[in-house]
Symmetry: C2
Subunit: 227 residues, 2 copies
DNA sequence: GTATAAAATGAATTCGGGTTCATTCTTATG
DNA sequence: CATAAGAATGAACCCGAATTCATTTTATAC
């Protein structure tokens, strides 16, 4: 490599000095590129959501994901540190979205029972709208690994906790019989979960909205007469 | 390899002739060995059940399993064709056991409602007795892979189908209001599933038997007045 | 247009775990 | 006791998938 001409060396030195002076570089910051990068990142996430809704975590290879996102395998690692980071991000985002939906829907009511019903309605509404998300959260992701699975379990337990809170309030108002609200909350959440999952897996209750009504009646009766 | 002495060759030939004559071999059949083999097989299954109750399918390596079973890794393959065959066998066995339990318990009753209750009681009873089995069936195995997962889903759906049958009978007897029995069956099964899983995962309803009673009341109310 | 740095590429590398296999150990036969 | 076959062993092999990296492409600054 005969790159040692005097002029070349001088230009290099000058450049270094220049950079040292004001941190200038030949290609810095961006704008259009920044935009492009964000777009590509979104592209990857979109592809990932699609593919993870169909196959389980370990069945999805980075190669396949990259292909779907129309990038090279190596490119993936320019946007995410690794495969697990990606799924983590996706699930976190989804969870946040779910919580936001529930909160929003609940804000419309003051009565505990109404709020409880609003929570479940929010879930159903979101899952119907974003079937992909539902499949990932409820059907696919559980098969990742014990460590990661904990997050999913956390979400489920959070739902139970919320529900129990509502039930406790109702109980305090004397609108629920003396029962273990923990068990009731689990029954409540579990019944919804089961119907939603079956709907996702084999489209069994064809009309989820109608099933929702049936389910809510079932649970209202189950809770005991709540006025 | 100078194994061509005349005498050696003759002995070899005689041996072959001998075998050809009456199928005699130096070491055939067994009895004590047969027993020993069966024992070792059971040893492997026992270790597998223990380890699969704690870790998910892919988190369990044959090496680790072999270690737990106190055998060499290669030995595993003298008893099972591969890892998947093992887990398949285990799950199949468990499912059979579960079905047998339910059938037995149901046989004690003639009334549909009693039978329905007996089914769930049988499940709970078995899962309490064989917590290991419950963990594998309900908590761990879902994370194997899509193809295998189908079996687990089949089990769950089978439970729903049974339940629905009972509900349809009750409905025919005019003991249930006009409701979608599919949704009711899912709610029924789902509520039990949720409670059992939480109990397995974090021992949350400490007393599962007591929770069972609460849960059954919840669902009886949920179904509507069944006489 | 040239030089340079970021972005993208995909073949090569790594790694972990399932499976195999040459070897050693055990058991039964004569 | 010698022989040979089955049982057991665990190191070696293999394969697939995650991750890396040398190289190429694209974008910017002058």
């Amino acid at each position: 490599m005969n790159s040692g001409s005097f002029l070349w060396q001088v230009s290099l030195i000058l450049q270094v000095i220049n950079r040292g002076r004001d941190g200038m570089m030949a290609y810095r910051q961006t704008e259009r590129v920044k935009e492009k990068r964000a777009q590509k990142r979104a592209q990857i996430i979109k592809a990932a959501r699609e593919i993870f809704a169909q196959k389980s975590y370990q069945e999805v290879s980075i190669k396949a994901l990259a292909k779907k996102a129309k990038i090279a395998t190596g490119t993936f690692y320019l946007y995410f540190s690794n495969k697990e980071a990606l799924i983590n991000m996706i699930v976190d985002e989804m969870f946040q979205e779910l919580l936001a939906c529930i909160k929003e829907e609940r804000a419309c009511f003051t009565d505990s029972l109404d709020k409880l019903q609003a929570s479940m309605k929010a879930c159903i509404k979101l899952f119907v709208k974003e079937k992909e998300m539902a499949k990932i959260l409820l059907v696919q992701v559980p098969g990742v690994n014990n460590a990661f699975n904990a997050k999913l379990i956390e979400i489920e337990n959070e739902m139970i906790r919320f529900t129990r809170n509502d039930l406790d309030e109702l109980k305090a108002q004397g609108r629920l019989p003396e029962e273990d609200t923990l068990v009731s909350a689990m029954a409540f959440v579990g019944s919804f979960r089961q119907v939603i999952i079956n709907w996702l897996r084999e489209g069994k209750p064809e009309d989820l909205d109608k099933a929702f009504a049936t389910l809510m009646e079932y649970n209202m009766r189950g809770l005991g007469q709540v006025k």
